[in-house]
Each structure stands twice: as structure tokens, then as C-alpha cells.
Amino acid sequence: MSAATLQESLTTDRLAVRSWRPPIILGVLALFAIVVFGILGPGGNATFRLSQDGDAWQVPNLVVPAQGFGWFAALICAALAVQAYLQTKNVGRPAKWVTMTFTVVFVIGLLVWIIGGTKTQNITVVGLFTGAMLITTPLVFGSLSGVLCERSGVVNIAIEGQLLAGAFTAALVSSMTGNAFAGLFAAALAGVLVSFLLAVFSIKYVVNQIIVGVVLNVLVSGLTGFLFEKIMKTKVNGATIFNQPAHLPDLPIPLLSEIPVLGPTFFRQSILGYLMIVLVIAIWFGLFRTRWGLRVRAVGEHPKAADTVGINVNRTRFLNVLAGGAVAGIGGAYFTLVAVSSFSKDMTGGLGFIALAALIFGRWNPIGAALAALLFGVAGNLQSILSLAGTPIDGQFLAMLPYALTILAVSGFVGKSRAPAADGEPYVKG
């Protein structure tokens, strides 16, 4: 039996699998666009303000006629849906660029329709993105923590707890020392401590990883809440001195920070913002280009195979979980050292779980997870901006969409999202 013939038959078999789902979905969405964006489109213009007052380089506002653009976007979507149908018919599946372009055009059409429907008919794009970073930054750190843990085969549900522990510890230590960097370091340690518990119970004692994670979240929430009441609310000479963290200053990068939209979003951040970008790239490179990454991925996919070539599976997992804890702890510090001025009870507000969603949506890839976190951040901030501006659709409904998308992604609807094969499986020798 030659390998070639089998290979051939496998290829033909795969071609024979033709799913009509993508063209049908695109078709329905295109129809929606024609009706809603086009026929029912709002009159007047939608204005996108690209510069803020005081920017050195002023960019003119982007003004588009709402209904006209609605028709334009709807017709492109329709054309792409037809293209997807033809490709499915001829080659079995639509090309990637078709679905990608469709998504982008549809989302822009949706945005124009929403802005056109508000009372003021304008939105500050810079504000949309800079505000989004308040959500995105902790999400990225959280999902990177998830990448580190889950790529090695340990499910980390405790991201929420790690973020919260980081936020609390950063606030406390920064207040006590007056040094924001001391707070940052302490936050990383707090994250590692939570991770240590996760690692000991799930790796050494083989307790169900999900259960340990959930319990750790409850534990951290209770513990920080208790300490918040007992320590942070304690007044010394009439002031709460243990909840006055020193902050990490913004460090704008010359020239780059003046680029419209991108500058204020990415280049006028605190050191944490830059650390985030560096970590995304470093973890991606580490996972996919280095010996360390190859071993980590092997441990997460097929621990026994890794074991048989002399890799210590459980030590690899232990170290990765600890590293993940440090990353999430630093992400938690963002809350109290950058975003707001003090710690408050349960201030992470479930972002740790959304970080998990970003991780899955980003297909366990650091860059994908970061982009997903950005999407979730923008969507979350759009919702708060729109709830002020008065929109045709409810802001809460818009806020829900990214997560609805995540559910679809997880269920394999928007392309395959495959977890590491041994994710959540403890490794016991023999």
C-alpha cells in the first residue's frame, strides 16, 4: 500500500465535505444589511471624529451619508455572499478572504447605521479606542495567563482571582511604600501565589482543575473583601492611607503618540501598556519559535509523548502555571495603578472570565487572544458611549454581541477553535 494513494483518497474525501452553512449565514446577513442598513437606513450623515482637541496633528472628521453608505455596504455584502455560494459550489468552501472582507464591511456598515441613528450622529473614534484600552489591557494580561496555562494543559479558571489578587496587592503595597513599581512587583507575586495553589492542587494532587479554579476565585474574592474592610477602610488621622496607591505615569512615545487614533490608543500608555504589547509578541514567539514553546505545546497536546522523549511534564506545567499567575497578577495591578485611583471590592467584575472567552476566541494564540480582547474592549466601550448618545438599538444588546460571537466560536461555527488536546487532563505516569 503506497502512502500516496491513501493520501490522495484522504484529500478527495475532504473535498467531498461541503458545508452550505457559511454561504447561508452570509446570505441571511446580507439580506439583513439590505433591509436595515439600506431600506430602513437613517437619513443625514454619520460623523467619525478622528482627532481630539489639542492633538498636534489634526485630521479632518470622516463624514459619510448614513443611508447611502448603508446601501453601499449592503450591496458589497450581497456580492460577497454570492461569491461564497459560488465557491462552495465549485471548490467546497468559500475562500478565507471572502468571509473576512464580509465581516469587516458588515461591521463598518453596522457602525455607520448605529451612529447615524443616534441623536448627535457623531462619535469620537479616539475616545472609543482609548476608553476600550481600559478594558482591553487587563483582558490581554488575563488571556495571556490563560495561554501560558492551557497551552501546557492546565485549565486556568482562576484568572479572575489572579487579577483581583493583583489589583488588591498592588493597591496595598503601592500605598504602603509610595512606590508604584513595588506595587507592581507585589501584584505579580500575588498572582503567582494564587497560581501556586492552582498548580499544587491540580497538578500534584490531581484535583479537578475547574473546581480548584472556581474555589480559588471565591477564596480570593472573600479574602480581598475581608482585608479591604479590615485594612483599607481603616482610617489613620481621618484618612484611609492604605488605599491611596501611587500611580504608574503615562509615558507617551515621541512622534508615534501623535499618529491619529493609533497614537493615543497605543503610544500614550503607562509602562503596563507597553509591557502588554511586548508580552503578546514575546509569548507568541516563545510558543511557536523556541524550544521552550515546542515542549510546552507538546505537553499540552500529548503529555505521554513528551514524557517518552524525556520532558518532565508536570514540572513544565507547574512552571507555566506560575508564569501565568505572574502575568495575570500584573494585569490586575493595571486596575489600581493605572485605571482607577483605589481598590474597591470585586472591582475586576468578571473580566477574568471574559479573558477566558478572549483566549478561546483567539484560538489559544497570544496574538489572536489580544485581538479578541481588543474587540471585546471596543464593544464594551462602544456600549457605554452609545448609552449616552441614544441609539436605535439597546446598548446592553450591543454589549452582548461579542460574547454571543464567542459562543459561536467555541461551538466551531466561526472556523474551528481547537483547544490543546490534553487541556484539563491531569498527567499521571504509567
Binding site: 465535505v17 515542549r295 513528551a306 522523549v309
Partner: protein, 531 residues
Amino acid sequence: MKRVDLVKLELKGITKSFGALVANDHIDLVVESGEIHSLLGENGAGKSTLMNVLYGLYQPTAGEILIDDKPVKFSGPSDAMAAGIGMVHQHFMLVPVFTVAENVALGGESTTFGGVLDLEATRKKIRDISARYGFAVDPDALVEDLPVGVQQRVEIIKALVRNARILILDEPTAVLTPQETDELMDIMGQLKASGTSIVFISHKLREVKAVSDRITVIRRGKVVGTADPGASTTELAAMMVGRSVSLTLNKADAQPGEETFKVTNLIVSNDAGQRLVNDVTFSVAQGEILAVAGVQGNGQTELTEAVLGLHKHVQGSITLDGKQLLGLGVRQVLRAGVGFVPEDRQVDGLVESFSIAENLILDLYDKKEFSRGGTLNRAAIAKNAEAKVAEFDVRTQSAQDHVGTLSGGNQQKVVLARELARPLKLFIASQPTRGVDVGSIEFLHKRIVAERDVGTPVIIVSTELDEVLELADRIAVLYAGKLMGIVPGKSSRELLGLMMAGLTADDAAAQLAAAGAPVVRDPSTEEGEPA
């Protein structure tokens, strides 16, 4: 090409126990440099445990390993690899989503500055070894896309890249077609010629005889003796089993009656719409055994699941006595007179934490004789169990013992006893003797033939060609979900091997005729052997 760094491997008094269970009991074994040394033994005899000790995966309870007369201690596989020992595991140790190069590199990566992977170095090594041994392996192919035969070569490359001078092959032929097995044996010969010693683990006598320089037989964790490949299969089988076994099942010719079970244009698909069983049509007559042969994973599992009503996406028609089975639930199918022995008895055939008695009525617990008003009739269940245990020769202290405590062969007897208890119009047995000791195999085979002889249509699904040849009146071969043809039970191994590799019956017969090879087995030259 001859290497100078030949090694001699010696195991002295290796004992490995897991709690009270002694898997290896003072095993002595010497593998001379450049020889192919076979380790022959039944399933569960302790061969794999011994090799895992040698490979550093288990620490021996007692005894020592010597390489070139120097004692060595392996605290993990990396120590074993450093000492020149490589292993191809029965279940491949390859990461499916990695490329060949990534898999080969793993654990012994070439890197440039700062731990950055240098896969090009690995690719070059793979190409070199491929060229030397004539493997067609693309370093950049994803392992999950490769056929098992090629995956096995990747495993061999993995060992050779690490300069293995002693290569352990653990049941390497279990997943191969006969032709692929021949190719593997050629490769083993080449490796030996270049100075690599090979430990070949198998329970298949014919292969062991064909390839070995020396044979060590293991039974119940102990070495029972060594033999040279000239020994007859009957001798080897007797050593392996501990008593003389009858290797051939003397069954009468089939007396086929009416064709009562018909499968027409059956298509079974997975969730992604891929066809796992592709347009299969066949029928089975009363009083005959149809064996479904093929390499594992070619649609056999899905075929039986479809008949039982266990599969979601099924098209076509399945009729028994003219009654359509498709669309019925599992219970209705069983009550229609289908008996079924699933391929994995521990997962699908038995509830391990239940007693033998309870397992024997899993399908009949709601019948009047065993329960009334929702309460089980313990006395009747116990009585039924006593009778079955006696009839099927289940070796156990008590019928109230957990099924999980029984040996594989005895567990299978329990499954068979339960399934044959109902009046049957069709009997299907999937892998009826997988992981079963030779003594039980004899018994199970006889019961299956007895069921045929009372006039039940019987379907055997087996990936063991020996078993297929032993039992079948007719043989259907599945490849990639398609039926390659149905041939007589007396067909030759060569014919079946070609069909298992994807040739239709006619094409395979034509190819054999051109090569002057037999299409039909000549029983006088064949030595039988236990599966």
C-alpha cells in the same frame, strides 16, 4: 555502513510489581549486538512492562540492566535514550498537530541563539535517514494527516535521530496491513545490517518466526524459555500458553440458508459530513459467518454502530427478516433479535463495578423473570449467573465478584454469555478476542461457530487477519469506508492484504495472478496459529 559501536544489552533478574501484582518476575534477557531478538508472549504476559522498564518509564522493583557489561540506571526515558535505547510504542507517541520535523525534534531540539528552534537542522536529518532507508517522509507534513504506516516510520526516525543502537518495537504490526508488515520487516533487516539491535515484541507467531534471530518467550511475567526461529508454531504456542493448544478450529463447512440480514447502500457520516461508511451493500445468510476485515479505523466501528442504532447520521437500509432496523432505538434493535459484542468490552460491553451476575442481565433486567414491580429479583439473577458461569467456563471465585476483577478472556465470556442468552436472529461480534488469552480464544471461537451451526447469521468484525481466516465463511474487506469486495473464506493473505490496502477484489486478484501469487490459500502449507 556498518557501525563499530555495537552494544550488548543484558537484563538481570528484573522484577517489577504494582502493589500485589507482579508484572515481571526475575526476568533475564540478553540481546547480542546486531540481532533481532523477539519477545513473545500473550497479552498481559508482561512484555510491555518489561520494555517500559528498559526504556526508563518504570523503575524496576529489583534487578539490573547492563549495557556492554556495565550496569546502568535509568531514572527516565532521557537516560535510556542517552544510553542508545530507542522505542517505538504500540500507541504512537507523536503529537498529531505537530509536523514530522517538530515531532522528531521534540526533546532533542537543535537550537540557535537563545533557544530559538532550528528546524532546518532536523529536516536535514530526517531527509538523510529517509534517503538511507528509503522512507518517503515529508518533514513538513502534519502527523495527523499521515497514514499509520508512515507515522510508524516517523517513530523509527525519532529513535534513529537520537542514535539509538537498540531499538524496541512494541507490537509494531498491530496496525499494519500484511504488505506494510512485510515492508517493516525489510526495514528491520536494513537496521540490523547497519548494526542496530532490535527487540521485537509480538504475540504473532508467524511474524516472530520470520524475522527473529532469537526468541524469548514470556508467560505470566516469567521467562519460560528461549527458542530459535526454526521452532514450529505449535512448540512456540505451547511455550507461550503453557500447555498444548489446538491451533486450528476444526469447523464444518457452512450450510448457508436464507439471506435474512441485508444491508443496502449504507452510508454513515460524521458530524462534518465525511462518509465513514460509504455506500456499503452486503447480506448474510443463516448459518454462515461473514467476517468484516480491514485495518483498524476503516469504518468497521461505524458499520456496527449503524446496525445497532448507535449512530446519528445513517442513510440506506438495514433489514433483518424483512424488518427495517434503521431508525429503531438500540433496545428495539436488540429485541428484534440482534446479539452484539462490542469492540471495547470494558467501555461498551460491561459495567466494571457491577458484579458478574448484574452484568449478565444488563439487557434483561426489566423482564418478568428478573424483576417485578420495579424491584430486582436477586435470587433469580443469582441463579441465572450460576448457570451462565458454569456454561461459559468463566473462571471466578463467585458470580457476585465485580466483572472488573476478571481477566480479559473471562470478561469476554461474560459478554458472550449475556448476548447469546436471547433468541437471536443475528449475532455480531466486534474484535471478539482482542486482548484475550489463547485458552479463552479457543473457547470463544467454538461458541461463535456453534451459534452459526444452529442457523444464526453471524458477523465477525476483526482487524486480526488470523482470526478472520480462522472463522470466516466469507470475508468482506472495508477500506476507507468502502467495501472492496466479498471473497471466499479460503482466500489468501496476499489477496486480503491488497484489498485492505484499497484494491478491489478483482484488481487484487489480477495483480496476484500477474505476479504468480496465490489467490486461494493452500491449507496444507499453512500452519495455524492462535490469534
